[in-house]
Homo-oligomer: 489 residues x 2
């Protein structure tokens, strides 16, 4: 167990805070609710961006950039939308600071005629532009994504999971038919699922949100829902079918193939730096973070073992060309050849920061023409002949990636159980036993009752499986499928 890290069993919440700080992923800033993403954390985000961006482009999307500021009146055009975000809006009201005779502090000047909202999401400003760009069905579909920072004023914040400012991508697409927009919504949910499972090694349940949990302004919202190691749910990505709501709010019509004017159909979808928190909480252990190989900028942490300078020189003579060969094979490594620190110290730091694979080599290994590889998750050791290292490492990384996914999936499945009555649900939440699968036909008010009585929320109405006739555990009304309730981040 790493020093300065509270064990998960003792206090999971504190463990998370400790790991994020000690692994130097992020830091609190002097600005309330805003975080600093440190280089180790940002390197994960960069890999996430690359993978997602490639998938967006392969599915026909292009990137663009829209303004940070949104006129207050724009936000007010879609009724549900503004209600959903009004209390979280940072407002720009002045455009300068001036010095006033006799006052120590500068004073705001240049009062704006209308306050500007720092974007909490960009539907309104983007649809105001789409109005100019869309006239005919020939201009559709419009498949645009934006990488941007977002501000939603938060009272209680947690690094990565809930912060006033965060980074994300938001896709905003425009379509000629409802069907095409619905297909897009589901396609992008599929992209998110693939990303979560294949890159983050984090199993997720794709499905619909209930009315009470959908995006303000959406017709319906899909999500992928994951289970963290404390058995709480984390919403990892959402994809919204917006119907014609924003097209109507901003009067965006197009001439269809039958020469009729029609409102445009819309989708939006997003994932954020919250995923870094999800990654930490899915795979981390009491020794620190574990980064899945596919999201590691440096999958290999290389530690030369030496006591005297001559030994170091001899080891580096072998290690440096080896790392160069790895680089040529597309495998990044971080070399820790610092002099004053012991191998034990470096091993602990490497585990803390979550490099998936450690590579050690010392004089004895050179004598045997081998290196020692150690898998981060289970500390499994392998002695690999020097000549095989470049071929072997990709295989080892692949097995680490797969093992991480399987372990997380087994954990989730183990902590997901059907319940048949409201009492059973209540008991499951009291015992923190994880997700429950139950029949549900309640309305938004019923959901709120469940939440206030048990702290559980309806996480997701799964798209795959769980179809069967039954009765709602609260209202007794007929239900045709089970849904997932759980406590959530």
């Amino acid at each position: 167990m790493a020093k300065n890290i509270t064990p998960r069993q003792k206090d999971y919440s504190q463990w998370y805070v400790d790991v994020v700080r000690e692994a130097k992923l992020a830091d609190h800033s002097p600005v309330k609710g805003c975080m600093v993403i440190r280089p180790n954390g940002y390197a994960i985000w960069e890999k996430m961006q690359q993978a997602l961006d490639n998938m967006f482009k392969e599915t026909g999307h292009v990137n663009a950039y829209f303004p940070l500021f949104i006129p207050q009146s724009f936000l007010e055009k879609e009724a549900e939308h503004v209600e959903g975000f009004a209390l979280e809006c940072a407002l720009v009201t002045h455009s300068g600071l001036e010095r006033v005779e006799g006052e120590a502090k500068l004073r705001p000047t240049g009062k704006l005629e209308e306050p500007l909202v720092v974007r909490p999401t960009s539907e309104t400003i983007i649809w105001a532009m789409y109005k100019n760009w869309i006239q005919s069905y020939r201009d559709l579909p419009l498949l645009i994504n934006q990488w941007a920072n977002i501000v939603r004023w938060e009272m209680r914040t947690r690094l990565f999971l809930r912060t006033t400012e965060f980074l994300w991508q938001e896709g905003h697409t425009a379509h000629a038919t409802a069907e095409e927009a619905e297909d897009e919504t589901q396609k992008m949910l599929g992209v998110y699922r693939t990303f979560a499972e294949d890159y983050m090694a984090m199993p997720v349940i794709p499905g619909l949100k209930s009315e009470g949990q959908k995006f303000p302004g959406a017709v319906h919202t899909y999500c992928i829902e994951a289970m963290m190691q404390d058995k709480k749910a984390l919403q990892a990505g959402t994809s919204h079918y917006l119907g014609q709501n924003f097209a109507k709010a901003f009067d965006v019509t197009f001439q269809n193939e039958r020469n009729e004017l029609e409102y445009v159909y819309a989708t939006s979808w997003g994932v954020s730096t919250r995923l870094i928190g999800a990654l930490v909480m899915t795979h981390g252990d009491d020794n620190g973070v574990i980064i899945p190989p596919k999201l590691a900028t440096w999958p290999v942490y290389a530690v030369p073992i030496f006591k005297k300078p001559e030994e170091k020189a001899a080891v580096m003579n072998v290690l440096e060309p080896l790392l160069a060969d790895l680089k040529k094979a597309g495998i990044g490594s971080r070399l820790d050849d610092r002099d004053q620190l012991t191998p034990g110290f470096k091993f602990a730091e490497g585990e803390l920061q979550g490099y998936p694979l450690r590579l050690e080599i010392g004089p004895k290994d050179i004598a045997k023409q081998q290196v020692v590889l150690t898998k981060r998750p289970n500390r499994e050791k392998m002695f690999v002949p020097l000549g095989n290292v470049v071929d072997e490492i990709p295989r080892v990384l692949e097995s680490i990636q797969k093992d991480l996914f399987n372990k997380a999936k087994a954990f989730r499945d183990e902590h997901t159980a059907p319940v048949e009555t409201y009492d059973e649900l209540r008991q499951a939440m009291e015992e923190d036993s994880g997700f429950v699968l139950c029949h549900w036909a309640g309305n938004q008010e019923d959901e709120e009752r469940v939440q206030s009585e048990t702290k559980a929320t309806l996480r997701v109405i799964p798209m795959d499986g769980h179809r069967e006739e039954g009765k709602c555990i609260l209202t007794g009304k007929p239900s045709s499928q089970r849904v997932i309730f759980g406590k959530a981040y």
Copy 2:
């Protein structure tokens, strides 16, 4: 000449506006001073980011992310810094909107104790964090870069060149010695020069800014200065040696190797989406934009020539595998196989949007087993046998890249001339003849006089060449090198 585009000779300023709009690079937004970067423009920015980011990483830098908001009091800690930015600061003063009985519009609520400045640059918030991260010389150097959006309230804006919000990167490094920080400042200027010349094909003059033109808070500022086709100067990148100014403002000290406490030395450096404007103004012509091959996401614009559907099918049978082969060779292409449009229309659109190379193929070409390649800049045509296309295109793209640079350099050199007297400078500015090289030993007040009398500013004190004894054209004081004056964006 493309329709809807004013010729450069007639009105260069209007030509720029027309080209940016018609090529769909950017658009004005409903938020005063803020632009929308459209997919065609953003694709250029993505290529710029990739190239720069690689160079930053190769020189040992890592990326991180710091908050968008800066407490007003932080900005006030460095006296010159706050004076430089005070009048351009967007201020967040409230954290929400609330509905008030009887009022149609929502009203700002949650007044903040202290206004937050939307970052106009990040030295202050970053040095507030560095204070926590730096204790010893072992923590140095700290070589961090950030990709971010920036807000500086502007009254008169021009797409890409001067907007209230823009995108940029800002490097912020911390060092144990003044010498090391100075080296870093010059190294990053070198990176910018390489990027401008090798990727943008835009020749630049690296050198120092004068006291009056340096960054607020810097000890001195280096820049790269380019000439646009209207012979005006454009500052394309800056690199600042900050000395201990920000370390003192935020009390950032470190224990040096002799166990003494010392203030940390700093640099910062940045380039922005302004470079997209520079690219357009360096290479564009009356037909539209010209993107240098190294910054083109799609260096090849592929146009199949056909009249009947059978012809299209036959042409696509040859073209599609060819484009797939190009993709395998790392060369992106955009296929324009739209049915209702004539080849002539497509050629014009391809020129407008600036794809460096057009590839056409029709039934007659297939009969001859060839394609037609046309270089965007000079419309030079080449007939290339089908079997050679994949080998030939990289060579053609390289020649286009080189020709663009040489042409821009010849233009600049042709419009740069020595002047020996203030009258000659004045006359050169009246005639809009370009850059002048002259001896200078004036102070800030003298510079302001030159500007108010001639509209010229001291653009750069070149690092390379131009060392010789002479006398200042304004003050007659001795000078040991010539500097560059010109009108500027």
